[in-house]
Symmetry: C2
Subunit: 217 residues, 2 copies
């Protein structure tokens, strides 16, 4: 399958790298084609890896991953172009953490809304699935770095799209029964707000390589 | 030890009942002494159980538990009286869920602030410890209803107060190593915002008798 990954940061590089490793043709998108980090990534990742503008990457992908910083995501997706997202699964991995006012960070979207919902409203023809934003990049693409059972969350309005993302997550190593479907895209609020607790749990765990596990009675 | 528990709902009744069971003299507080639910609770709980106004309960307790609805907590604590809270450990169990605008609920305090912080600011001489708000009432007072390892969180500015609350939680059945200190009272933001994810996880678990466990790499 062909993927477009928007964003050249650690999350974008981790996901794009894993996709190439799994044999998917993957184009990393950034504000302008020729972005230094994207070019270096494509050169290193080898066969199947390419880079271009946000629009190049979104147009290339059958599935598009939003791995841009949450505060810049809507702008990046505008640049990607609604026509390049229409009808496609759009996996939103972003968090809206805003450190500009110091610690603890606030979220630039919170409570009454979420970035996942904003993206779905702005691009009604895309099939937005919020996923993976609740773990560090290394855990996203290889859950075995955290031992034992732990869980990853999905939300979105399109059942088939969630099914496709669940399959992709399984190819990353997530067991089918640890991929928890939280409901429609409004559940993205819970996924995004949890990140404020995640930051505190990182302090307890002493590293970002951790996750949570739902334990039921 | 003597406890004052503010609030007559399921959370207040669960905590107050457990405290009496553990041999603590416990006074349940409500807006007005003689509250029907508080009187019924005190009669049923038996020796060591009493009821009164918020001020009666707070004055009685060496430790005070805020188990009122989050939206009404500051008012209830005002009625309890700063003089009855000064120098005491004040365990804040409340959540600020607001269902008035439909589902999913919003939080009446979120992101830049938390109820725990608001209470600490309003009552600077109380030693506020945010705890237990991340699980259902039945799990709060008897963690063994959820099998296996799972975690409970504390935050607050006073280390000694957190130590006392950790001891109390151990007497409820929480293992010492599953009581996670998240830091100062600003961590209450994470504890309170998590509840939006909790509501979705309840849908997945199919019941409120569940919790999460931190799994580290």
């Amino acid at each position: 399958m062909r993927f477009g990954v928007l964003g050249t940061g650690v999350v974008g590089q981790s996901i794009a790298g894993r996709l190439v490793e799994l044999g998917h043709e993957t184009r990393m998108g950034s504000r302008q084609a020729g972005n230094e980090k994207a070019v270096a990534w494509a050169a290193e990742a080898g066969e199947g890896a390419s880079e271009g503008s946000f629009a190049d990457a979104a147009g290339f992908g059958e599935v598009v991953v939003n791995a841009t910083a949450g505060g810049a995501s809507l702008e990046a997706l505008e640049a990607a172009g609604a026509e390049n997202l229409a009808g496609k699964v759009l996996i939103d991995v972003a968090n809206t953490l805003d450190f500009s006012q110091g610690m603890p960070p606030r979220l630039s979207v919170a409570n009454d809304d979420s970035l996942g919902e904003q993206i779905q409203r702005a691009f009604p023809e895309a099939k937005v699935v919020k996923a993976l934003n609740t773990v560090n990049a290394n855990v996203m693409v290889d859950p075995s770095v955290v031992p034992g059972e732990h869980d990853i969350f999905l939300s979105g309005n399109d059942e088939e799209a969630k099914g496709q993302v669940a399959e992709l997550l399984q190819s990353f190593g997530w067991p089918a029964d640890r991929i928890l479907d939280l409901g429609d895209i409004t559940a993205a609020r819970g996924q995004e707000l949890y990140v404020t607790l995640w930051l505190r749990l990182m302090g307890v765990a002493g590293s970002a390589t951790f996750n949570i596990h739902l334990v039921a009675g």
